[in-house]
Structures are given as C-alpha cells and as structure tokens.
C-alpha cells in the first residue's frame, strides 16, 4: 500500500435540504476551507485536488471539476474528478490517498459534494437508455427487492429496519452537521410514516441533502495537527448484470472487506474495530452490511442490530454520526463516512465521539450494490 498517509483536516457543511445561500462553488469551497483550517493550512500548501460527485445529471453540470477549479484553489495544480456511483465519496478519498501512498504528492485536498436541490435525484436515477425498459423508480425501487430477499433468507422480524432508523436519527441529534435532526424520534413515529417501497417506510430512507465534505490528506513528513493514519484502503467492483451474483451480500463487498482487513491486520472486525461509518441509505442495509462486512455471521446481522450492539453505547457503534440515513448529499455521502471515521480516531467527533476509538472503518457502496470502497484509519501510525 505504499507510503504512509494521514488525514490531517476534515471540513463539512451543515447538511440541509436546500442551500439557497451558496452556489455549487461556494458550497465546495466552504467544506474545503474548513478542512484547511482544521489542518492549519491554506490552499498554497496543497499539491493536488481530487473531487468526486455522483452523476453530473444531478446538478446539470457536465464534468464540474472544470468550473470548480477556481473555487478549490486548483489553478496551476493537478485536479482529478472521480465518479464511481454511490461509492464515489469513498473512492475520492482513496484516489487522494493513493497520490500520497504512491509518493507523488505530499498534501492532497479531497472534496466531494452534491447539491441535490438543483434537481431531483430520484428521476435523474430513473433515466434509462433506449430499449432498456425498467420499471424501477429511484434507488429505493431498486434496492427494496434485495431487502425483501434478505428478510426471507434470514427470517428477520419486520421491525428491525425501524430500530436502525431510530438509532441513526438519535445519533444525528448529537451531530451538528446532520441534516435530519428529529426531536422525539421513536419507533412509533417511523412506523406511522408512509410505505415508499415495501418494506422501506419514509423514515427508513435517506434524505436528499445539499452538502460538501473535504479532507486534507498528508504524507508522513507533511503531517500537521492530529493525524488519523490510513491502515488500509481497498476498492472492489462487480458487473451489475452477472446472473449469478448475490445482490443481498455481494462478493465485491466481502472481497473488499477482506482486502482492507488484511492490510490493517484485522482478523475479527467486531472486536478489533471500535467504530464503523457504513453506507446505510435504507435502514435494512445495517443488518445486511453487518453480515457482508463480517461483523456477524450470515443470517445473524439483524440480531446484532436488535441487541443494541451498534448503538452509540453498544460494543460496536455503527454510524455514530447519524449516517446516510440522516444526511445524504449523495456524492459526498461516502466521503463523509471516511471523514467521520477519521474524526473518531482523532478524538474530534464531539458529542458523538465513541470513547477511546482507536480503529475505525469507513465504507461506501454504489451502483447496484456492486461498487465498494473502504478504508481503515487508526490513531496509531501503522
């Protein structure tokens, strides 16, 4: 995995439905400046910029890195644009880390964003090429059948999804950047909301958010402030139309986890990882990913959720920040997971800090649950 790499700055915007007060450039710059401030640096200290976002159709700007070069201080520097579907935020962090690990640069600014209020993501995701008819509307329409299959296989009771929906929103109340901060959130409230895509209710799905997240990544020699050290990075992809692939627990997710655990020396993720920020856009994806990522045996993930183990005060907190269920600027959602993992091991997560967190997992997935990006960060230098 090459040279050592550390996260030395994290910046986020307050996630919300509509940021009418800033342009797209203003939004990404806000996150970038906060990350630079956290690192005690300015744009002058940055060697290269890597930017990621989900499909360009979401804002109607084609290859927006051209337009955003000025706002991110990239003029005169190398700039790259990553796009790997929903996993893009994670991939953006990994491409940035790769530049450090490969010895190409000393400090890299990575930024990811989505300004969902510029369009309607559900319909932008429902455009299909000619002659490929599809009855699916939005991401929920695509993933609901996979969730139903998970319930059938595991025999999980119907209320598990609502437990996750409540738990993540309770965590969000402790995160000042979170979009959905719902006082008095409880199971009854979730169950009272309309069914969108059986079994996903309104409050079991992620919001549409405007927001950006940025990180300053550094080589060992260029570290400032409090570093979160990168202990492992991995990406995996599998074809969407492969007939025999398991969409409930994709092989690419298992392989990606195995790769990143091997690099970080993790044999038992449940015991060795202190906190995980995992891409859970629909409540049921918590138990599904608990199994896919090896935190629970097959068919047992829902029991871990039900036991409270993944709550902020449980033995393996998942999405202490409130997760994607509470904030979802799509292209940035993966990067937020990676950044929150870094904040935890830096001890800088504020009210949602997991006490004594030393090792954290950041996870993102995308496409038809076929693209995966993960990293392990730690308080200690690897």
């Amino acid at each position: 995995m090459g040279n050592r790499c550390a996260v030395i700055g994290v910046g986020q915007t307050h996630y919300t439905t509509k940021r009418r007060d800033v342009s797209i450039a203003g939004l990404v710059r806000e996150a970038a400046l906060r990350a630079l401030e956290d690192a005690g640096l300015t744009f002058k200290d940055i060697d290269a910029v890597v930017i990621g976002k989900a499909p360009d159709l979401f804002e109607g700007v084609m290859m927006p890195e051209s337009y955003l070069a000025d706002a991110l201080g990239a003029a005169g520097k190398p700039m790259m644009r990553v796009h790997t579907a929903g996993s893009v935020g994670g991939s953006t962090a990994l491409v940035g880390a790769s530049l450090i690990q490969g010895g190409v640069h000393e400090r890299v600014l990575v930024v990811a964003f989505e300004k969902q209020s510029e369009s309607n993501a559900t319909w932008a995701l429902s455009t299909h090429l000619p002659f490929s008819a599809s009855l699916v509307v939005g991401a929920g329409g695509y993933f609901a059948p996979h969730i139903r299959e998970y319930m059938r296989r595991s025999g999980a009771p119907g209320h598990i999804g609502t437990l996750v929906a409540v738990k993540d929103r309770l965590n969000a109340l402790k995160n000042p950047y979170a979009h959905l901060r719902i006082p008095g959130i409880d199971q009854k409230m979730v169950e009272s909301t309309p069914m969108l895509w059986e079994p996903i209710r309104y409050l079991e799905t992620c919001p549409s958010s405007d927001g950006a997240c940025a990180m300053v990544l550094s080589s060992e020699a260029a570290v400032t402030g409090t570093p979160a050290w990168v202990h492992g990075t991995a990406m995996r992809s599998e074809p969407i139309f492969r007939a025999s692939r398991d969409t409930v627990s994709p092989q690419a997710g298992k392989d990606c986890a195995a790769d990143v655990y091997r690099q970080a020396g993790i044999a038992d993720p449940r015991r060795q990882i202190d906190v995980a920020e995992v891409y859970v856009p629909f409540s049921w994806y918590e138990p599904m990913w608990l199994e896919n990522l090896g935190f629970a045996a097959e068919g047992e993930g829902w029991k871990l959720t039900e036991s409270g183990a993944t709550a902020l005060d449980g033995d393996i907190p998942w999405n202490a920040s409130g997760g994607v269920l509470s904030s979802n600027p799509i292209g940035a959602s993966g990067l937020i997971r990676f950044a929150e993992a870094a904040l935890q091991v830096r001890g800088m997560a504020g009210e949602h800090q997991v006490d004594g967190a030393r090792t954290a997992l950041g996870h993102a997935y995308g496409g038809g649950a076929q693209f995966f990006a993960m990293w392990i960060v730690g308080r200690e230098r690897p």
Partner: protein, 339 residues
C-alpha cells in the same frame, strides 16, 4: 518513481455515426483484443474514463463493467474525464509497488447527441452556461486570440486528414475544400468530426513489462495541471497549464521524435506545439490526431496509445502524448514515453 510501461494498446475502428452498438458492445472487442494480446485475464487495477452526458443517462460506466467480465470482483475505479486521466490514476496506483499490471480504457459515443450544445453544460452554470456559449463559439474565441495564419491552419487540417486516411482506425475524411465558416474564424473543416469509439491500454512494471512486450514504452514523466475556468482570466493565446505539465513531465530533457497532441482544432495544435516547445524535428499527430477521429473521452487516451505504438514498433525511441480537458484547453496532461 517506479518504472511503468505501456505494453499494449487497442482501439476500435472509429465511426462517424452510431452503428447501433451499446457502450459495453463498443468496449468488449477492445478489451478482449488487449487481453488476448497480453495473455492477461486479470489485472492488479482497472480504471476507465467516460462521461454520462454523451449518453444522456447516469452511470454510463456501470454497464461498461459488464464488458470486462469482472468476476471474481476486481479492484476498479472510474474518472468522469478522458481515459488519459484514468491512465494517470492507474500509473499512481502502480507506484504503490504491490501490483504489477493495470488495465485502462476510455470510451464515448458523441453521435448520440448534439456535442456542440452538450459541451455548453461544462461551463459555470450560473454565469457562463446561460449565455449559450457553445463549444465552437469558445473555441473560436481562442482561435481568434491565437490569430494564426490561415494557410498554417489549413495545412494542419489537410495534413491531419491525409494522415487519418492512412490510419485504419481513424475516419476517412476528404481533402478539406470548403471556405464556409462554422463560427468565425473557425472553418467547418476546422471542427473535429463527431466520432464513436473506444480504446484500451495495459500498463505493466518490472519483469512483467518485458515479458509482455519486446519493446515496452516506459513512462518517463507524466503530469497534469489545470488553470482558471473563466476564459477572461486566461491568456487564451497560450496554455500555461500545458507548459507547466510539459516541464513537470520533462518533455524538454531530450529531443522528441513524435508528439500526439489532443488538439481538437488546428489552432490548438499551434498553442500546444509552443507550450510543449516542440521543434521542427518532431512529427506531430502522425495518426491524424483528433481532427481525423475524435471519440470524446477516449481521444486523449488514444494519443498516449499512438505515442506508445511508435516505440512498440521500433520507429521511435522518445515520444510525447498530450491530453486535454475543459473549455479552451483548461486542463492538460503530458506523458513522456521512452524505449
């Protein structure tokens, strides 16, 4: 830096119209060809470049993955940029030292829409795009700023088309004859052809490179730079970012025998020759360049492949490839290849 070589290059026979192939169908033969040629079925890393706006649907690269037979799952990433930047990402990944091969590809079907209008959407959505400034209009602004001799521009188009006719993968375009303007001072024949196509490259390091290719094209330097987006903030008669990237890649360290430039318009070739400080001894775009085939999102990657081919064939020992992105050569990537 670790030595990384281009060991194989494959491209489609580009077309000036939609042949009815889907993107995976366009890519699959190129991927299969390069797998057969190298004998590699699996690669340490895979990276591609494409743009959703060409197909007008999100995630054009998602179904492209089906063309790879990516099973078991592969370590893979994608840039929403020309495939040349995918190659850069793969080169960086190979610097880590734990893998020794990478597959890179780029593809685009610009026949599906009105490219001239679509490219407008690449501009600042608040201050520039609403003006309706389209691809040819801003290119014309730059052509005007360069103020090149018409005869020199005509000769570039004539030479590019003639070379393209000699290149089985490029389009068969006639000798330029009309005097009609597309947007003054750009003539219709100065405009690159609408093209569908794809290309793939295999990178390898160490012993694997020499095992797969008798004459690997080693990447001796590779660098890219961007510059301000707003046309008014730049001196359009030159390209500071191309010059910076060329210096960082070490173009000037030794004579360059062949340069493949991502010059979509003849005046861009003049700007780039100056920026890269290429002398009269350098053969420019012997493939015909983008004026003879311009499969958007693969055009830059093809420049790297064509520059490598001269070394693979033993016709040259030091070549340069250039790729561009953004309006009026906003971002430039330069690669120096040596035998």
């Amino acid at each position: 830096m670790r030595d990384v070589a281009i060991v194989a290059f494959a491209q489609t026979r580009h077309t000036d119209h939609d042949t009815g192939l889907t993107e995976p169908e366009l890519i699959a033969p190129v991927i299969n060809e390069i797998k057969e040629r190298t004998g590699l079925r699996r690669f340490g890393f895979t990276c591609s470049g494409s743009c959703d706006y060409l197909a007008g649907a999100p995630f054009s690269f998602v179904s492209a993955l089906d063309a790879l037979a990516a099973w078991p799952p592969i370590s893979e990433s994608h840039v929403e940029m020309d495939g040349a930047w995918a190659l850069y990402e793969a080169w960086v990944r190979l610097q880590h030292g734990d893998i020794d091969s990478a597959l890179v590809y780029g593809f685009g079907k610009s026949s599906l829409g009105d490219l001239r209008t679509i490219m407008t959407l690449q501009l600042d959505p608040y201050y520039l795009a609403p003006l309706g400034l389209d691809q040819l209009s801003y290119a014309a602004l730059q052509a005007n700023a360069v103020g090149a001799d018409r005869a020199e521009l005509d000769e570039i188009v004539r030479r590019s088309r003639a070379d393209g006719r000699g290149n089985p993968y490029a389009l068969d375009l006639p000798e330029p004859d009309g005097e009609d303007f597309a947007v003054q001072p750009l003539k219709k024949t100065d405009v690159p052809p609408i093209t569908d196509g794809a290309a793939a490259i295999v990178l390898a390091t160490g012993d694997l490179a020499t095992r797969l290719c008798a004459t690997p094209a080693y990447i001796r330097g590779i660098a890219h730079r961007t510059e301000p987006h707003y046309l008014g903030l730049r001196d359009l008669s030159g390209s500071a970012s191309a010059a910076d990237a060329a210096r960082a890649a070490g173009v000037g360290k030794a004579p360059v025998e062949v340069a493949e430039l991502h010059a979509q318009f003849p005046h861009e070739e003049i700007i780039l020759r100056r920026a890269l400080e290429l002398g009269g001894g350098t053969l420019i775009n012997p493939s015909g360049g983008p004026l003879a085939a311009n499969p958007v999102m693969a055009t830059g990657l093809i420049r790297i492949g064509e520059a490598a081919r001269h070394i693979h064939d033993g016709r040259a020992r030091r070549t340069v490839a250039h790729a561009a992105s953004g309006p009026c050569l906003q971002q430039n990537l330069v690669t120096v290849l040596e035998a």
